[in-house]
Symmetry: C2
Subunit: 716 residues, 2 copies
């Protein structure tokens, strides 16, 4: 086999091929095998089109070849229009001919059942064996909009109207629905650079396609329709590149609901991580997750302008006070602010609008605008100069008769600034919104949709730096390794509380001081040594829920109490193995419960989870995840993204909590999880007791379970 293509080489043959062979090309341009040839001709592909058909000398007027081997010259890309049973052999033939990438359109693979899954495995084996990178199977191919690179048989290219070129690339796992969205976007005036359908993703995934697309100069915005993510690290790599290049990835991912996840799984037969993990990771890595198709296209429209917002302060100018009030509601519901202008700026605005308008913001230009379109220019000029205006919404409607003048006024103002401006145009005959979209000026039919798009623009514009985690120097992976090895040596995967505490201490997680004890007198001595009130707990890796078994005694101060508790709990422990108890110093002062944890996500690997403990987590299911390892700012953001984050600032008259200490614990836990890697099954710190600012955090209980995957060596 040939050496694996680099990303740049792969992008070149997929998106800039100089020659495309269509294997199974039909002379009939309506048949599936005929369409790619027809489309490549019709949409102006300037490279060489090579029909391969053993039965014909010409195909649709082009010279045909009996086989790939019979073709002279270089071939960049093969479009394999053969059935599922012939696909693996076709890939091998592609590889033998020295072609490095192929598209497999046929269905009938893993999506249909076990026999199809076998064929797909065979196809993948052929790809790996030959080094040919495969798009598909069960995919429609791809569309390079600007230069007619259309190795695809999608009927979407039969829809009326030419293709609209622009800066938006779209990678979609779903074929049919992907083309519907593509078509809807084109009708909404959104210009595309690329459309790629990944289908069953036997080899090339949406994540890798996004990674390639980010690198294309003509692409400024990436859209993704995902049914599942199997290769989290590739997606994160793409997200890092996109973040650095300021090319937002706007993603719809199905599977938010149980029903959606079930449908996606049965549809794509792909192994996917948990949706809540994807959601958290998207937030962490700056992927703009949107709930559905229309919000995706609404966001694409405003991102495609290339403009960015320097803040969340929106100024609205409207022809109708009612529309301005609704826009203010929708903007604030989306996290933007619509503040009253400073008096000086109100005066400046008042000077250019009618006396019965309002210059406070929302700015009411009044219906005078209909007969005096220059009013729009005068007010927009003031708004773009106003230092407290980060974004502008202009609300108009109907006005089919003078829409032309209004559009001209907006265009003039738009060109004179780089502040993001969105137009809301409700009602009318549709010509003015279409014209604005042609001019590249975002236009929405509804204030709510404009507000959501503007808010996504602000979120992206103000996105935090990506995680740049560095392992704290005082972490001791070797000490952690020793704990793990000892547990393995004992033939266990579950750690007892004392072992869990040793593991945490290896990464300098604050753990309440404790002493494992084998008899009651040891416990009394340990309590005296620890000082202050103690907890006595049954100590056994075999007991999962100590409290449920009555295995915990809290707040003991008297030696007699400690002795009695230890004696009783040693008896309990004895029923499960060696009789032992843990004597632990009680945390002091008023503290709030947090729950920290770590687990392995099938797509993204080690993730940490943080939530508030007590009644809040139970009532609100209030926890968030992040890919490990995390840096400190990322850990703070994770905690602050909790729905009940207000608790961190102190409630019921209490002081603000030590968020820094909690974030530090999250960082250390994330490194432990990351270093344990595949060895970790599950890890919980429950609870971490968080004190007021400056008083730190302390873990008072923890549970660690190792996976069956034993690491041969290396860190931790």
């Amino acid at each position: 086999m040939s050496p694996r293509l680099t990303g740049a080489e792969l992008a070149r043959v997929l998106f800039r091929p100089r020659s495309i062979a269509v294997v199974g090309a039909s002379d009939n341009p309506v048949k599936l095998g005929g369409r790619p040839v027809d489309y490549l001709k019709r949409f102006g592909f300037r490279g060489r089109i090579i029909p391969v058909n053993p039965h014909r000398a010409t195909v649709q007027g082009l010279p045909a070849f009996p086989s790939l081997d019979a073709v002279d010259g270089e071939i960049d890309l093969a479009m394999l229009m053969v059935d599922a049973r012939g696909a693996a052999e076709a890939v091998r033939a592609t590889g033998r001919r020295g072609i490095r990438a192929a598209i497999v359109g046929a269905a009938g693979f893993a999506e249909t059942g076990p026999e199809g899954a076998r064929l797909q495995a065979e196809l993948l084996a052929a790809a790996r064996e030959t080094g040919v990178r495969v798009l598909g199977p069960n995919c429609l191919g791809l569309i390079g909009v600007a230069d007619g690179v259309v190795p695809t048989f999608t009927s979407a290219l039969d829809e009326d109207g030419g293709l609209r070129t622009g800066p938006v690339a779209f990678a979609t796992q779903s074929g049919a629905f992907g083309t519907f969205i593509f078509s809807a976007a084109q009708r909404a005036g959104i210009g595309f650079s690329q459309f790629v359908n990944s289908g069953n993703e036997s080899d090339l995934t949406t994540a890798e396609l996004l990674d390639l697309l980010v690198g294309l100069a003509e692409t400024k915005v990436l859209l993704a329709y995902l049914e599942g993510v199997s290769d989290g690290p590739t997606l994160l790599a793409a997200a890092r590149k996109a973040h650095a290049a300021d090319k937002p990835i706007v993603a719809v991912k199905v599977g938010r609901s149980a029903a959606g996840a079930r449908a996606a799984a049965s549809h794509t037969a792909s192994l996917a991580g948990e949706d809540t993990v994807f959601d958290s990771v998207a937030r962490q890595f700056g992927i703009v997750r949107v709930p559905g198709t229309e919000p995706m296209l609404d966001a694409a429209q405003i991102f495609a302008t290339g403009r960015r917002a320097r803040g969340r302060r929106l100024t609205t100018l409207s022809l109708s006070g009612g529309a301005g009030a609704l826009m203010a509601d929708e903007a604030e519901a989306n996290g933007l602010t619509v503040g009253v202008w400073e008096e000086e700026w109100q005066r400046r605005m008042a000077a250019v609008i009618p006396a019965y308008g309002s210059s406070r913001n929302p700015v009411d230009l009044t219906a005078s605008l209909i007969s005096d379109t220059a009013l729009l220019n005068r007010s927009l000029e003031v708004a773009v100069q106003h230092p407290g205006t980060d974004m502008i919404a202009v609300l108009l409607g109907n006005a089919s008769r003078n829409g032309h003048e209004l559009v001209a006024a907006i265009e003039k103002a738009y060109r004179a600034t780089d502040i993001p401006i969105a137009v809301v145009w409700t009602g009318g005959d549709g010509r003015a919104p279409a014209r604005l979209q042609e001019l590249g000026i975002p236009c929405y039919p509804d204030p709510g949709r404009a507000a959501a798009a503007l808010a996504r623009l602000a979120d992206h514009s103000l996105r935090p730096a990506l995680p740049a985690p560095v392992r704290p120097e005082d972490c001791d992976p070797a000490a952690a390794r020793a704990v793990v090895d000892a547990v393995r040596a004992a033939g266990r995967t579950r750690l007892d509380e004392a072992e869990s505490a040793r593991l945490f201490r290896a990464y300098r997680l604050p753990v309440a001081p404790s002493v494992p004890c084998g008899d009651a007198e040891e416990a009394v001595a340990a309590a005296a040594g620890l000082g202050g009130p103690v907890a006595v707990k049954v100590l056994s890796a075999a007991i999962g829920h100590k409290s449920d078994l009555g295995g915990v005694r809290l707040g003991l101060t008297d030696p007699g109490e400690v002795r009695a508790a230890a004696t009783e709990l040693l008896g309990l422990a004895g029923e499960y193995g060696r009789p032992r108890v843990l004597v632990q110093r009680m945390a002091e002062g008023r503290r709030t419960e947090l729950i920290l944890g770590a687990k392995r996500d099938p797509a993204f690997g080690p993730v940490v989870v943080a939530g508030l403990g007590g009644v809040l987590v139970e009532v609100l299911a209030d926890s968030r995840a992040a890919v490990a390892p995390l840096d400190h700012p990322g850990a703070v953001r994770l905690l602050r993204s909790l729905r009940a984050a207000a608790v961190l600032d102190g409630v019921r008259g209490g002081p603000a909590l030590d968020v820094d200490a909690a974030a530090d614990a999250v960082v250390r836990l994330s490194w432990l999880a990351s270093d344990l890697g595949e060895e970790l099954a599950e890890l919980d710190v429950n609870p971490l007791l968080l004190g007021p600012s400056g008083e730190g955090a302390v873990a008072v209980d923890g549970l660690v379970v190792l996976s069956g995957n034993r690491k041969s060596g290396g860190q931790a």
Copy 2:
């Protein structure tokens, strides 16, 4: 003045006038004064059009009259196209001529400042004086779509295309924005019966207009755009009628955000209640509140079909597995359920769809549908028979080439059932969705919008009965009256805790037993009499926050403790007036804090507020309001609508709480608030301690403040 018109009479002259006089009619059909005449002619008004113009013998070809008095015969409605300064006199002339309703179009009233407010007061005085009911001022008039009743000067009637007739009536406070929405709705294929713009609402409010519109036979759905509600009771009366007639009211109300409320207030200068109260009341009275214009029109489309859902179970049929999965997500996010079909029904579905489709629900019909449209009929036939299908979503896209056949297939299936069906059609040339909408079949471009509309349909279809509260027989308004009178007699408006407790006990609210005491020995005796641990609290109407002053001692059992606490707190009380303490029995057992309250809303009168106490209310601002009085089911719904309602079912292994007891307390409090009426300023029960199911609730502290409005007599 003439006797006030009944609702039926007013509806007749406004919406079914046999003659309309246009005062200030212009011969120029483009001028504001000329438009109503032009429109009445063009849109086919079949009654008499009476231009009034002292300077012309004819107006736009019709005989004109120098004044209303000069007109022969009956006049139902006067459209007054005069300026703000002439409006009051024009209304008086209208009344003199025996005309009972007038539309005042002019702006320049309360929306412009004090001078305008004066003119508006004068206008209202003229209306009251003459009995003429006035729409406006600062309004565009109204549009009776079916019969050309168009006394309006809105330029919306200049938009291209005729008016689409249908069952939807729209009342809007905003003129310009209202017409934009009207125009957008018409383009979206929504047919209207009426459009009315209320403008400044000097006399006729949107609420009263809705009340009139509900009574019109041709109206099946009501839309409202509200900037504020000043007459809550009228709105509730309209909601009751609409509820009984199964005519949903779908309302956008601005003012959700501070910025929106500010904009609406400055725009309309109307006194409005709190937005959160409106939100709660809408829920209570079955008003479908939507956040914005597009959701309103999306809901209107599906309500206009007249179909209702018998449950929330959605079956989705799609051409693309990806679209089905997204629809499932969006449906479940909106509170619908997309459940797997029973095996028997899966088999029935599998028998009519391709083998590589999915019959589980979401049902994947596969792209075969494009070439086999009968597949749509076969699968829809199975779906409408399936007993677990309450609603159906059909997801298609593109297919401009065979859209006609697909639409025909949908139409056939649609006519064969009364189950609600919504189509999602993404992409394509727009003809198929337009055709579906013409056929009255709801069609949306995006799964999320369809899901939201279907969910609103389900909510409305399953709406609970309206409140039918009956005062519990054991409430004793006379005893409450006596408490209030005594407080008034003492020259106070604030009740002390003992007085508040007496007031609550008069309505049989459960209050912890307590005894007011004037010295320490009395307190010791009281504690002994109450039995069990007691609280001793400083008792003074002058002290608002006892705890903040250290005025509360809890859990005292020993007489010495009681004596010491009483002595100290009597000293504290003495600083504020007569030295007194309250000795109160502590509530027993584990209990959860609720906060109940009542207040007067400027729009809706007495409302009760309920929330969970403790950290939840602080972190989540989790409370809900309802108009008083409430019935028991309404009180249960109020409590269950809290965001943290899961607490009521027991958390952290605890038992379910006594929701019935809490609801009973809410009902009693709501009657107390309702009977106190305008005398009540503010009332709090904080906390109400709620025990496990069967163990009741008990109020342990309360605060009542009376308003300055003293009732002369009557109940409570």
